[in-house]
């Protein structure tokens, strides 16, 4: 493919030419013109600018929003940094990511949030730090939520460790209801990694036929399901917004579906690995397939796909979790859980899900943007006046996944060697091309 950007060093207006625009409002063939301030100024036929991005045969979508990434900084820069993680995000079409707080130190106080925001300046996507619900993610005391909301935090989670204490979770939910004055009116969401420790502890994969055969201690699906039940009940009690992270089993999907039917303020995400892989992958004892929550059964995969199709699940989130190779070579039970996701999410959704393209884009872009309260800047319609955060994708090109070709500092993709369909060609962040023809520019 010839270089699409006429001159990347030059400033001025940018025209995205020859593409098909798809957003929440529908689909049309149109060029997109962006001004020097990074805003869309026109959407229509035959637009020209000082610079041109070729989008022939491509789809121009609002940039993707990942509600669930581990950027590992501060604390575990050997695995990833905000810079390398953001570059991978941009290559995956994401213009915004929500960074999980399980860093070292934990994102549970103003100073660490400020640090992460400072480190995020100038990287290849917008990074929105979430903050922990409890201090140190220990499940004992609430973080200074109002102060953190004042710094821009819109999502709280103890990801990796669901809040075990029922009373503390109730208090956290109640407290968020009163935070609107400090967030400029934006609602605050509590995101939960549903896993009852008493049932899950000591289990390293899904408990079932495969764990029994392999002799790997399992954790039952009920470890997730019971906490989903509890948090739905508490959402009803408190009226607070609860977001279910990486739902992995059929019963969780059914519970969320029922809760939504009752009008409760709950949302849910699913990861590509939970709709593409099953526990059978663990038969190799390769810990690249070890993840929390664990890969489950064919029936669970089918239920997650159905949930994505019928709107029960609102978002595809990656749970991008880089780990260095030497830790993934530990015995299965000792190895850290988690896998890369940013650069393969779109292609897995297009290849594996039997959904219309616009539906896949909704799950990757405007629906998660709404959950994270980012829709003023990300995920919204492609119309004049909006910030130009865009993903230009070729939905038909096929490519082969290679961990060592990724921007991440780590290589732990469970999809190594798979041929997938659909790839990001360009990514535009606040009007600036951060990916051009599949290559990062920053």
């Amino acid at each position: 493919m010839s270089a699409s950007l006429t001159d990347n060093t030059q400033k001025g207006t940018l025209a995205i030419r020859g593409g098909r625009v798809i957003d929440a409002t529908g689909e049309r063939v149109a060029d997109v013109l962006i001004d020097e301030s990074g805003r869309i100024v026109d959407v229509g036929p035959d637009l020209t600018g000082d610079r041109t991005l070729d989008a022939t045969g491509c789809v121009v979508s609002p940039g993707f929003v990942d509600l669930h990434v581990h950027l590992r900084q501060p604390g575990r820069e050997e695995a990833e940094t905000i810079e390398t993680g953001a570059r991978g995000a941009a290559l995956g079409g994401f213009t915004a990511v929500v960074a999980m707080p399980n860093t070292d130190p934990t994102m549970d106080c103003a100073s660490v949030i400020r640090d992460v925001l400072a480190l995020s300046r100038g990287v290849a996507c917008d990074v929105f730090p979430s903050a922990a619900i409890t201090v140190g993610r220990k499940g004992e005391a609430l973080t200074p939520m109002a102060e953190l909301v004042g710094l821009g935090v819109r999502m709280f989670t103890d990801d990796g460790d669901g809040v075990q204490d029922d009373r503390l979770m109730r208090r956290a939910l109640e407290y968020t209801v009163g935070l609107a004055p400090f967030s400029g009116g934006a609602p605050i969401t509590l995101a939960q990694h549903c896993e009852v420790k008493a049932l899950a502890e000591g289990g390293f994969m899904h408990e079932g036929a495969w764990s029994s055969r392999l002799g790997i201690p399992g954790q039952p699906a009920e470890a997730e399901v019971i906490m989903v039940m509890r948090d739905i009940a508490l959402a009803r009690r408190t009226g607070a917004r609860v977001h279910f992270q990486h739902v992995s089993c059929a019963d969780s999907v059914a519970l969320v579906r029922a809760a939504k039917a009752h009008g409760l303020p709950v949302t849910a995400e699913a990861t590509p690995h939970h709709f593409c892989l099953t526990d059978a992958a663990c038969a190799s004892y390769d810990s690249v397939f070890k993840v929390h929550p664990p890969l489950r059964t064919d029936a669970d995969v089918a239920a997650i796909r159905a949930g994505l199709a019928d709107g029960t699940i609102d978002a595809i989130a990656t749970d991008h979790a880089p780990h260095p190779q030497h830790l993934k070579e530990l015995p299965f039970d000792e190895a850290p859980a988690g896998m890369l996701g940013l650069e393969t999410a779109l292609a897995l959704a297009l290849t594996e899900l039997d959904l219309p393209l616009a539906k896949v884009l909704a799950l990757l872009s405007w629906q998660p943007a709404a959950i994270a309260n980012l829709d003023a800047v990300h995920g919204g319609a492609i119309v004049a006046g909006r910030p130009a955060n865009l993903a230009i994708i070729d939905p038909d090109v096929t490519w082969v996944v290679r961990g060592d070709a990724m921007a991440s500092k780590s290589r732990n993709t469970p999809f190594e060697g798979r041929t997938l369909r659909g790839k990001v060609r360009h990514t535009v962040l606040h009007g600036e091309p951060v990916v051009v023809d599949g290559e990062p520019t920053r």
Partner: protein, 311 residues
């Protein structure tokens, strides 16, 4: 076959049969005045035991020495592993010294499979977590065959903690491949969470099963299972699933009692039962050496028949 990671690697009945046939010949070798043959002269076998196991390690070591192999013991407790060396670095270091086989015992399931991906030498699984212990199953199958001529149609009860037992997983595969009927006996908490794909019967009632079996195979009851609330107490376990004299007396004529050792006397087996004529526990140990000779010979041997000549 390059590795023995699982009974599956033997490819079913014919592969298991071959090991047992070769074992016959090494039983004969072991009975000689000088029980040693030059079959693996010039070969090096290394032990890599991350978990203590005196009996399995000694059994393998005796087997290797009777085949004239050189042996190398990597003692984990006094080694670089304690200085933080990774499993892969340790294994690659040993492999670089030029070993032909590594015999591995590890507390984590799957470690032998991981090691087999990293090095060229043969890997023999001497027990990995709750996964498999294939040479134990082979020596058990050999012992049963010795008593009954064949496993075909024999009924074998495996009693106790099959959930956490690598012996049970390997034995179920080996015994059923050879045509035996296997019943897992124990409280529900000590059975694998799913038995989908396992060709076994299940019973919670040892007294009902016992008169119907040819082999009562007792698993070791780990004391730490108490803290996990898997059984109310060792006393209760013993009352319902322990093999005592009264229960042993109700076993059919000609049936045998087996145990992989080490025994918890007074828990899964009483002292008087361990001493019965039909308790073949020391026979299992003796056969273990010949079976491990057969495994080493088949994995490493040049194929030249050197079993007949004494060194």
């Amino acid at each position: 076959m390059k590795h023995l990671l699982s009974i599956d690697d033997l490819g079913g009945e014919s592969g298991i049969d071959e090991v047992l046939r070769v074992t016959d010949r090494f039983v004969e070798v072991s009975a000689r005045d000088i029980p040693k043959v030059p079959a693996l002269r010039g070969y090096t076998v290394a032990w890599l035991f991350y978990e203590d196991s005196t009996r399995t390690r000694l059994s393998f070591e005796t087997a290797a020495k009777r085949l004239s192999a050189d042996t190398m013991n990597f003692s984990v407790s006094s080694s670089s592993v304690n200085k933080g060396e990774s499993l892969r670095d340790t294994v690659e270091t040993i492999a670089a010294m030029g070993v032909d086989a590594i015999v591995v015992r590890h507390k984590s399931a799957g470690v032998p499979s991981q090691i087999a991906r990293w090095i060229d030498a043969s890997v023999i699984n001497a027990g990995d977590g709750s996964h498999e212990h294939p040479t134990q199953a082979l020596l058990d199958a050999y012992t049963i065959r010795h008593h009954f001529g064949s496993l075909e149609g024999r009924h074998i009860a495996i009693v106790g903690d099959s959930k956490h037992s690598r012996v049970a997983r390997s034995n179920v595969k080996a015994f059923t491949a050879l045509g035996a009927e296997v019943t897992l006996v124990g409280p529900q908490t000590l059975l694998p969470p799913s038995l989908e794909g396992w060709p076994v019967n299940v019973s919670h009632d040892l007294d009902a099963v016992l008169p119907t079996v040819d082999v009562c195979y007792l698993l070791r009851m780990q004391r730490e299972r108490m803290t996990e609330a898997l059984v109310p107490s060792l006393r209760e376990y013993h009352t319902y699933y322990g093999l005592d004299g009264a229960r042993a007396a109700r076993m059919a004529k000609g049936s045998i009692i087996m145990h992989p050792g080490p025994m918890n006397r007074g828990v899964e087996i009483t002292a008087d039962v361990a001493g019965l004529d039909n308790a073949v526990i020391t026979e299992q140990v003796a056969n273990g050496v010949a079976v491990r000779m057969a495994v080493l010979f088949l994995l490493l041997g040049s194929g030249v028949d050197v079993i007949g000549s004494q060194s």
